[in-house]
Symmetry: C2
Subunit: 184 residues, 2 copies
DNA sequence: ACGCCACTATACCGATCTGTGTACTCTGGA
DNA sequence: TCCAGAGTACACAGATCGGTATAGTGGCGT
């Protein structure tokens, strides 16, 4: 990826997340990246493609971020990894404007199920569900599938609540409730 | 409200929900309502005002819908009303395209906190949190505030999961988990 | 019969949208 | 030294955006 393309993707990611996808035009993205529209279209071909790469990149970064906090010599118990997953979400959200989950927000704007971004969004959520199901199974839950779905709901709800600002610190609250669900 | 205004609001509500707010133009709204843009601007003055009235109307309808299922000679116990609240959400979602919560989706597109729609969204979520807190208190929860927040997370998570289609029937699942949280 | 009001029809405004074109400059490596 | 790729500057296309103007139609109550 060329330096200009990288700056374009960074600018697009920030603008899309903070202002919404439809509300941001390519002229603004190019200007914020210190690049002309010509460069933008030479590198990405279309705005839709920028949207796709924005989501794919965010997905990949989150995957690496979460994997780092769960894998290797990190928490040994399933409960420890579950706690680490929620803490990772909290840490991920801090530092950015509290606008909730970029995948959920993008899904609110991308209506067409055939849009390539839809698959990225669905894939990210499926992986989170799989993770929670695996953690529930490792923790010895009687019904790992059901427990995983419950953990998923708590997690998604916490991200939404964080974005909406319904009440303070929803992610730690969800984490504590999630931990209470695991068998003792 | 004149017949044209009513049709405009109905068309706008359907289009905003199914396609997103920014993706829908005033020309389309007027055309779908069988009305000219002149009428649209005579009745509402601006697109923003249509957005506000769309959300306010949906909020009011949901309020009435939920109140009908919770109030009067309906479920006598707090657990019964909690169950009814989740069932109301499920019923509310059925019949429309599975796009999740209109308030959450609108929040993804409306960035400006000063936008009058933001207050409507925040108010709706606050009322839901209050409801869940009240139900938790009535059910005899040791910490009604904390329990109410947990119920809120389950509910919001279920709406999001329903919109994203992460797994089938998330709302009944959330309902069962919510009921399990109440003291026996 | 009259006037009011909701609404239609149509043309237009300036701005912004995505996307394309040509011509030129800078920079790093072979 | 030369060349290819990355980027700049700028002009423009066609479409659509939100919003406004003028002129005319149809129904309904008084």
């Amino acid at each position: 990826m060329t330096p200009g393309a990288r700056r374009l993707l960074e600018a697009a990611a920030r603008l899309f997340y903070e202002r919404g996808i439809h509300a941001v035009g390519v002229d603004l993205i190019a200007a914020e990246a210190g690049v002309t529209k010509k460069t933008l279209y030479d590198r990405f071909g279309s705005k839709d493609q920028i949207v796709v790469e924005y989501l794919a990149d965010r997905d990949e970064r989150w995957r690496a971020f979460l994997g780092d906090r769960l894998g290797a010599a990190r928490p040994a118990t399933a409960a420890g990894r579950l706690r680490a997953a929620f803490d990772a979400s909290k840490e991920w959200m801090e530092g950015t404007s509290p606008r909730g989950c970029s995948m959920v927000n993008a899904h609110a704007e991308i209506t067409d199920p055939a849009h390539p971004a839809a698959a990225i969004i669905a894939g990210q959520k499926q992986r989170m569900l799989d993770l929670f199901t695996d953690l529930a199974r490792e923790a010895g839950a009687a019904d790992p599938g059901g427990a995983g779905r419950t953990l998923m709901l708590l997690h998604e709800g916490a991200l939404v609540a964080h974005g909406l600002g319904v009440f303070p610190d929803p992610i730690p609250h969800a984490r504590d409730q999630a931990l209470a669900l695991l068998p003792v």
